[in-house]
Amino acid sequence: MTDVGFIIAGYGVILGGTALYVGLLLRRLAAARRVSLQIRHEAESAAPAAPDRQA
């Protein structure tokens, strides 16, 4: 095989970069889901006492 360096650089960056993006995307998704779940829990636990918590 000729030009091995260029082929490795080409495939490495494109396939590796896509894999990296997938990993980051899944992490962002997991983090966002965690926050959204937490919000829902807070909303549920706070719901009965919602009108005025300080009273």
């Binding site: 095989m1 000729t2 030009d3 091995v4 260029f6 082929i7 650089a9 080409g10 495939y11 960056v13 494109i14 396939l15 970069g17 896509t18 993006y21 997938v22 995307l25 899944l26 962002r28 998704l29 966002a32 889901r33 926050v35 959204s36 919000i39 300080q54």
Partner: protein
């Protein structure tokens, strides 16, 4: 569930198509093994254009329907499109150095057009990041995306002329792969890679869209939280006898 299956299928397809393109298909007679880079360069470029097309259409749809789900599609297209466009440029450069002798060929209209495309949509993403209100962001991003899309054909023509009016034709055009005289094995390898990449693209779009939806909910919650916090602060300011002051 379906998305997970799609993800696994796409992963297997990309691996299989890559092994085929790297090791099974014979090397090109003139360009040698460097031509194998075309098998990832061409699908990247195709997905970049497809993504930006989706972004422009979703933007038009948003201005028409005012539905934030369409805006979520638009941002997914822009982000994924920027990634694939960058890959296309990278792949083109890695192919260009061994075949043309230079990384950057100013006379190739596609390369220069693609570089501007990348700049246009990087600006689009940055612009989105710096705007707060979701509806305002969606509307403005939509018009920015549409003007960017309108600009692309003009850029392409101008660069095409630029070359055409000032020097001879370029040598070693990347189009060779799709030429009718190209060997069947080459065509199969390229089509296989395009299909595999497009499957992966669909999976990415679905996941990125899901992320945009959840992020929107969180953002909305944050805004409501700030409003109610401001209200509470106003209430305690009116009745300071209540004791503990509200923080942040």
């Amino acid at each position: 569930m379906g998305t997970r299956v799609l993800g696994i299928v796409a992963l297997l397809a990309v691996v299989a198509a890559s092994v085929n393109a790297l090791f099974l298909v014979p090397a090109d007679v003139y360009q040698g093994d460097a031509q194998r880079i075309m098998y990832v360069h061409v699908p990247s470029a195709w997905l970049g254009y497809l993504s930006f097309g989706v972004t422009a259409l979703a933007g038009i749809g948003y201005l028409w329907k005012r539905d934030l789900r369409l805006d979520a599609i638009a941002v997914s297209g822009a982000e994924i499109g920027v990634m694939f466009t960058a890959f296309a440029i990278w792949g083109g450069m890695m192919w260009g150095k061994p075949v043309w002798g230079v990384f950057w060929q100013w006379e190739d209209p596609r390369l220069t057009t693609t570089a501007l495309l990348l700049a246009l949509y990087l600006g689009y993403l940055l612009f989105r990041r710096l705007t707060d209100d979701p509806h305002r962001r969606a509307a403005r991003a939509a018009v920015v995306g549409i003007v960017a899309a309108v600009d692309i054909p003009i850029v392409h023509f101008s660069v095409e002329w630029w070359r055409g009016l000032h020097q001879g034709p370029t040598f070693g055009s990347p189009d060779k792969l799709l030429h009718p005289a190209a060997p069947v094995l080459f065509v199969i390898a390229l089509v296989g890679m395009v299909v595999a990449f497009t499957l992966a693209w669909v999976w990415l779009m679905i996941r990125r869209y899901g992320l945009a939806r959840i992020e929107w909910q969180i953002e909305e919650h944050g805004r409501l939280g700030r409003i109610s916090a401001a209200r509470r602060a106003a209430r305690t300011a009116v009745a300071p006898a209540d004791g503990a002051p509200e923080g942040a």
